[in-house]
Every structure is written in C-alpha cells, then in structure tokens.
C-alpha cells in the first residue's frame, strides 16, 4: 500500500496502480480519450494530463504510476487549460459536423468537449478532406473523423493479430489505414469490426443498411422476414437504457413487429440445426478417419482469417454453413416451397452482433437460386437499435410476443452460440448423448465458459477421452492454428470465434464493449440457457420435424446440398 495526495485528499492504494486507476478508486474522475480498458496504454491524446508536485511539465495519469508521497492535482486551471487546448486542437483537425454523424450523442470526443466546456475553438480547421472508404460490404472508414487515438490499430494488430490497420506517414500528415493507403478489402481484412467497436468517434463504422430495410418493409411486393442472432438480445438493451443489456425474446419480437416485419424468426433455430449437422460431421470424422481436429465454421471473421492467412488448414474446418446462412437457405428453399412463394420475392434480413456477417451474406457460395443471396441484408445490433430509435419504440410499454414458426422454437444450447465456448458446449451436449447413448449428468461445461483466450476440456466419447479447445480473439486463434500446421495439435474439436468473448463481444455490438460489459452479456446468455425448458439441440422437436419433413437426416444428401459449403484460399 502507498499513500499519496490527489487534490489535497489523501489516498491509500495498493502498489502498481497508475494515477488514473488510483484516482478512480476515490471517485476522482480524470477525463481520458485514447484510453480503453484491455488495450495498451499509449498515452497519445494527453487529455488525462495532471500536475505532480516537483515534476516538470504535466504528466499523463493513464501512464504514470502513482508513487508514495506524490502530490497530484487534477483540476488546476493549468491542467484544465491544457486539456481544453488539446481538445480544441483535435477538433480543429476533425470533421466536427456532429449532428450529421452516426455517433452524435454517443461520441467520446463530443462528450469530452462538452464536459470540458468547450464553447469556442481558437484554432481554425486544418482538416484536409479525404475520400471515404466504402468499397467493402462490412465497414466504412471516414478518415476525416479520425483522431489518431490508436485504438483500432492496437485491437487489429495485437488483439486480432491481423495488423491490417497501421499508422502511416508522420506528423500532421499521419493517417490510420491499411498498407499503400488502400481501402479495406477481403484479401487482408476479416471485417471482424473490432476496430469499429473501439473507435471513440465515427471514423470506422459498420456499413449502414437501415435505409434499405425500411424500403423493403414498405414494399408490398416482397415478403420480408427477419432472423435475430442469440448475442443481439443480450446486448441491445444497453443502447436502450435497459439494465444488463438483456431484452426478452418476447419484447424483441414485439418491437420488430412494430417496425413492420411480418415474419420474425430466431437464428437460434438454425443454431440447433448447425449442432445437428456439425455434431454428426464430427462423429463421422472421428469414426471414419476424417481430418481432425475439426474446427467450427459459424464465425465469418474466422473463416476470412483462415482463407486469407492459413488456407492450408481449410480441410479442418467443418463444412457446415453458419446458422445465419442455414437460415437464409431454408428461407429461400424449404419455406418458399412450403408456402408456395417465389424465393425471389422473399427478402431475408438478419440482425447480427457482427460486421463480418455482412460480408458473409454477399459470398457467392451462399446463393441457392439465381443470383440472389440467401440472406439479403444484414443489420448489426447497433443498426437495429437505430431503427428502434427512429421508430421511437418504448420497451417499457411494449407487450411480449412469441417468435413465429416454423423457425421459432429453440433450445438453451442454441442461445450459447453467442458466447465463446458456446458452440462447443452445445455440440458436446448433443454429441455426448448420441455417441455414448446415455444422458449427460451435468450439461454445463464450465471449463469452456468465460473470457479466457484459449480454453480446454476433456470429454469421454465412446470410452475414448478426447480433448477439445476453444479460442476467442484471432491472436489466440493463431496459436491454435499454428499448432495444427506444426502437426502438434492435441485436440479433436476446436471452436473458434474471431471476437474476444465470442459474438457477445462482436464488432457490431453496442459501443463500450469492455470486459465488464462482456461478463454481463455472458451472464445473460447463461441465464437464458438455464431458463429454457429444452437445453439440447437434438431434443428440439421442430428440428426433428424439419428433418422428417424435408432434410431426411443429418448429413444426408439433401442436408449436404442445402446446409454445407466449401472454402477457398484467397490470393
């Protein structure tokens, strides 16, 4: 423990804290801008500057360790003037057209300016306008708003090990972007969207598709259906001032109906279907000497990563389409058949926690008929929240309603898809019972839960112990993939999620996804699972009926034709 003074208040804190951390323990709030929990402290913005008695100049609270006997002032005119000046400087090189920005009232720079009381900028704008990067289906980069805080570079380089984004050029001409100042593209970027999630301003955003959806909702000639992913419901409430971020299925369905959707389905349904297909594939690979370890395929960021950087391990990836794409296929084949609707008239909207899903939906493999995509358009959690705001949906007043059928009955296992380790847990619940022909005693696989980057478990399958692994965050994934490449992987089955924490921490989730927030979303996920009557995919009666009615049996020819895909090396 050590003793110091902050603003003439004596503080006693444990060793090794920064001034910022120590001050927060005593409810002394020092403003920050570039700082983000879980990312590196680069102290680039200098906003958290404070005075320390006896030290020259000002020091940044985020990076300076607090020392015994330090006398720190965080609110002197000298400090406030420095903070204001730096903010004015940043604003002078920022496209500060706040009312015409997605991040209006949800922007860290805007909040800072407001909190510091900036009412005039002494410095003229020095912004040199650059064109927007709009050439991919997932993300938009607007360099005119970039404040060079370094967060996106850090997350791309260190958390995701992609290193697509980097700081280029120097001094006042410094920019953030890909090599050769080129646009983002599917040769190098996985579109995981973590950069967009940590951006404090509107410099990197998902490509907004809400306008198209509004148009389709009002087009009488199309049959608009929507599917909503498991991770969305545990987070969207954060943007609507709901505690824990959890919105009940019932309210969500009702709100979607408010927006004008006629047919509201649950991606959890095709998550259960994925378990049937993937579980069967795993058993087949184990029994018949297939390529092992098998790796999951539901995460499009991971698929992009594998195709770009590690095409030699493509055979390890399950051939199953992701739940989103299985849904799209079923909508345009099974549903169209059964309802006698031309699949060209069906318009499938997905709501996903993910920006890479936007890219996934455009892939050429995912077109069952003609040249129309199975999933027509993908909205992120943030975009759906925007549509709710546009409509003024009041969640307190809204009534509960069930999902529509035939894609509305789901299990607790499917809900787990939103969490890192969840696909693994759901698969094990099913595979164990099918192979061992006896019920699982404890269906909760605690060892694959949580935010740890790489998790392991051992399972008994038919008298044989198999090792499984789960990774989240592509930097951790790289470790597991390199084991496979080196031929040293001890695992039989591996679940991969590109984003830290899995889909609950996806790039399309509400801003401010820190580990605390991820924990809350995980808690909601496991809460939903516990509350479900049916918690194993192979016990979902609607799924069994679907096989009976249309797909024959898991991994049948029909199932293969509709629900499986292939991967290709890119370059």
């Amino acid at each position: 423990m050590m003793n110091a003074m902050i603003n003439n208040v004596s503080v006693e804190v444990e060793d090794g804290l920064t001034i910022l951390e120590a001050a927060r323990k005593y409810n002394i709030n020092i403003p920050t801008l570039c700082h983000y929990p879980e990312l590196h402290i680069n102290s680039d913005c200098r906003i958290c500057s404070v005075e320390i008695d006896g030290r020259k100049g000002l020091k940044t609270a985020c990076s300076t360790p607090i020392k015994d006997g330090m006398n720190i002032i965080t609110n002197s005119p000298r400090v406030l003037n420095a903070r204001k000046t730096i903010t004015e400087l940043i604003l002078a090189n920022h496209d500060a057209n706040c009312t015409a920005c997605t991040r209006n009232l949800n922007c860290e720079l805007q909040s800072l300016a407001k909190n510091l009381g900036i009412d005039i900028n002494r410095f003229p704008s020095v912004l040199e306008r650059k064109p927007l990067d709009l050439l991919n289906p997932s993300l938009v980069r607007n360099s005119n708003r970039c404040i060079k805080c370094g967060r996106c570079v850090d997350v791309c380089k260190n958390v995701q090990a992609m290193h697509v984004l980097e700081t280029m050029h120097r001094g006042h001409e410094m920019t953030v972007g890909p090599a050769f100042d080129e646009p983002l593209n599917d040769q190098t970027c996985t579109f995981c969207g973590q950069c967009a999630n940590v951006c404090p301003v509107g410099a990197i955003m998902e490509k907004d598709n809400t306008d198209v959806v509004w148009e389709k909702l009002h087009d009488p000639s199309v049959y608009v259906m929507v599917q909503i992913a498991p991770a969305v419901r545990v987070a969207i409430g954060e943007t609507l001032d709901h505690e824990n971020g959890l919105i009940s299925n019932g309210k969500l369905v009702s709100a979607l109906r408010h927006l004008g959707f006629d047919h509201i389905y649950d991606t959890n349904f095709t998550a259960d279907l994925t378990i049937m297909e993937e579980g069967t594939e795993l058993i087949d690979r184990i029994m018949n000497g297939g390529v092992l370890p098998m790796m999951t395929s539901c995460c499009p960021g991971w698929i992009n990563f594998a195709e770009q950087r590690h095409p030699n391990i493509i055979d390890h990836i399950s051939s199953c389409k992701s739940p989103q794409q299985m849904f799209g296929t079923l909508a345009k084949t099974y549903y169209a058949d059964k309802s006698n609707i031309d699949s060209r008239d069906i318009y499938v909207v997905s709501v996903m926690p993910c920006t890479a899903k936007k890219y996934e939906a455009t892939r050429k493999e995912f077109r069952s008929f003609y040249d129309i995509p199975d999933v027509d358009i993908v909205l992120t959690t943030r975009e759906l929240s925007k549509m709710f705001r546009q409509m003024g949906v009041d969640f307190d007043l809204i009534k509960e309603e069930p999902f529509d059928n035939p894609f509305g009955i789901t299990t607790g296992a499917a809900q787990l898809f939103g969490a890192s380790g969840g696909v693994m847990e759901a698969a094990l619940r099913t595979v164990y019972e099918i192979v061992n022909k006896k019920p699982l005693v404890d269906i909760n696989f605690e060892s694959v839960r949580g935010l740890q980057g790489i998790k392991e478990a051992t399972v008994d399958l038919g008298g044989k112990e198999i090792k499984v692994a789960v990774s989240n965050g592509l930097a951790n994934t790289k470790t597991l993939v390199e084991q496979i490449e080196a031929g040293t992987s001890p695992y039989t089955f591996i679940e991969i999620m590109a984003c830290p924490g899995g889909c609950i921490g996806g790039g399309g989730q509400p801003y401010g996804t820190t580990n605390d927030v991820r924990e809350a979303r995980l808690a909601s996920t496991y809460f939903i699972d516990e509350e479900m009557v049916c918690r194993k995919s192979h016990e979902n009666e609607m799924i069994l009926a679907l096989y009976e009615d249309y797909l024959d049996e898991p991994n049948s020819e029909q199932a293969h034709h509709l629900l499986h895909t292939y991967y290709e090396a890119r370059k």
Binding site: I41, N42, S43, D44, C45, R46, I47, S49, K56, G57, L58, S63, P65, R78, N81, A82, T85, I86, L89, I90, A92, N93, R122, F123, P124, V126, I147, K148, T167, H169, R170, G171, H172, E173, M174
Partner: protein
Amino acid sequence: MKEHKLLTKRFGEIDPFSIEDFVNVGGYETLKKAMKMTSEEIIYEVEASRITGRGGANFPTYMKMRAMSKETGDMYLVCNADEGEPGNFKDKHLMEKDPHQLIEGMLISAYAVGANRGYIYIRGEYQSAVYLLEHAINEARKHGYLGQDICGKDFHFDLEVRQGAGAYVCGEEFALLESIEGKPGRTRVKPPFPTEAGLFMKPTLINNVETFSTLPHIIEMSGEEYGKLGSSFASGTKLISLSGNVKHKGLYEVEYGTTIRQVIEELGGGVSNGQKINMVQLGGACGPIIPEHLLDMDIDNERFEIFNSKMGAGAIIVIDDRFDLFEILLRTMTFFAHESCGKCAPCREGHIQIVKLLQKFYDTKVTYKDYESLVSLANVIHETALCGLGQTSTTSILATVEFFQYYYQQRIRQSERREWAL
C-alpha cells in the same frame, strides 16, 4: 581565451582511416587501463567526473551506468549519433575525425556495465561518418579490440552501425531504439526507462557520441581531475558548434564556464560583414533565442532552466540584425511541424496551428488574440507533449516572448495600423 582541446586534440593529427595512427598516439591504452579496473571503480570515476549527457538532456552519466551494471542477462549499448538538431555538427566531426575515440569510449562503457553488443545509430544524411565508422569497426575487430576475448581477456563486445533514414525525432532515445528495431521512430511511454527495458525490451545504455567519446579521457586523467575542468555547475569541456553570421564558423572545444560572448567574439571572430548581433539561438531549433545583452552568461547558465533546455547539445547560432524574428520562428516551427512523429496530439496538431499563427505575424496580419493563442499553445505543447521533441520545440517562442516582447507588440500594432489603412 583559448580552446581546451581534449576530445578534439587528435583532430587533424591522425588519419581517421588508420587505427595505427590512433594506437601510436596512445589510443586504446585507456581501454587496457579500464580493463584492469572493476566495473564499480570505472563507474565511480565517471561519478567523480560529474559528467552529464552531452546530447542535451544533461542526465548524470554515472547514474545510467550504475542502473545498467545492476542488470543481468542480455543488454545493449547504443550510441546516439542521430545528430539532427539544426546548428549541431559536433558528432559528425567526432566520428569523421577520431572514430576510434568513440569506439574506445563505448568499449569502456560496455566493459563497465557488462554489455556485449552495441549499436551506433548514425543519421542517414551522414554517409561519410557511416563509412568511416564501419571502416573503424572493421579495423578494431582485426586488431582484437572488438569481438571475442578483447585484449586477451574474457570480455566480448561487438558493434554495428545502423543508419537513420531521415527523421529528426529519432534523436529521442526511445524513437531511436524503435528505429533500430525496424519501426517508425515513435517514442514509447515512460516508464520503463531504457536502462530497464530499452532495445528489444532489454536494458540499454544509450549515450550521445560526445558522452561516449569523453569516457576515455575521464579514465585516463581520473574522474577527479576531469571534474576540476569546467565550472561549479558543469564539469569538463564542451564541444560548441558555432554557426550563423559569424566570421569563423566552426567547431570549438571549450571548458564549461566560458561565456557565450567569448565563443562568438574571441573564437568566432564576431559578427561578419559589420552587422550587429540581433539574436542568438542556443542549442539548435529546440533552444531559446536570446538577445545580445545576455551573451555574458556561461554556456551552462542555469537561467535557461526555465525553458527546460539550457545549451542543448552545444550549438550557438548567431543571427544578425538583417533578419526578422518571425521569419526565424516560422522556419523553426515549420521544421517541427514536419518532424513531429504524429503520435501525441499536442505535438501533431499543435505545431501546424503554431505555424499558422506565426504566418500571421510574418504577414503582419496578427491580433492580440492571436498572440495570446500562440503563447498559450506554446506552453501547452511544452507541458504536455509525450517526448523531448514537443517538450522543447516551443522554447524559441517562450524565450522570445520574454526577451523580444517588443517585436511581438510592434508586429501587432503594425497589423492594426495596416488594418486601418485598408
């Protein structure tokens, strides 16, 4: 007054390409002497000499060496030869005229702290220094002064020259280390300091060319004797790069305690062309600009503490009365705007605004408000920038606001009059 030649005593006397020349005048003898001493004895001599870093930061050299000597495992020695501060050319002369002196100084340091690998980071613009040092390193290796079992003892040390590629900011120690690692020259957050985690995150002793080059002399004459040179503020000799409007521009080695006026008038022969001294910039672009009446200060005068810079690396740039203060400031600040690495906000966004404000002064289109903004901004950059570049870049503004306030007021009044006339 006369020069006191210590580091420059062999300049012109020996062929810098010839290690034999160097050895014939007693070169590498001090290394042998040092290798008979213990690490602590050497560091004690350095402490007794009171030498501080000659690159401008004036940090006591022995403190870095002592911190390093406590570390174990891999560690590095790095010589900062990225002399980019406008008006400085001492390191270039040290490397081009007596390269083995530097190598000997690095060897003594390496022996004292226990490092066995070193880098000399020379700016890419100094091709002849690069060539000479690479040659000198090869010669030293051939003669058993670098490599394995140096001088037949169990001491291994080797050196490598690394070139900069045009970035002033790489003179900042962490930026320099980043550059050696093959990255853009952007500084790191301190702590940890280089002696704790420097090059490749290993303990690193990084010193200026002049500092390393002084070490053999300290060991040769003893720290105590060296400490007797100079003044009570600073010991030893200092290389002064004298340039600008003086008759005899050039490199001079003088004892601390010498005044700026002595250097300019007695060594430099005073102002050329019968003009008068108007301003003198000390240290380089990052140093203060002072008026003629302050020239009687020592080259180590404590007065400059307020601007956090003193004499910097020892440049004196004389500017006669033909030149406009604001043209000088504008050029200086344009330099910093161009050389800022871009990492921290006040430096990246601040210098471009400073340039805009100074342009208004230069164009005589300035208001009192602009003046206030300029001073406020100069202070904020100085107080909040992440590294030495931004912390010192506005010194010339802060100093001239104090010493040449008249020019600022005059330019504001001229602007007002010009406005009325329109």
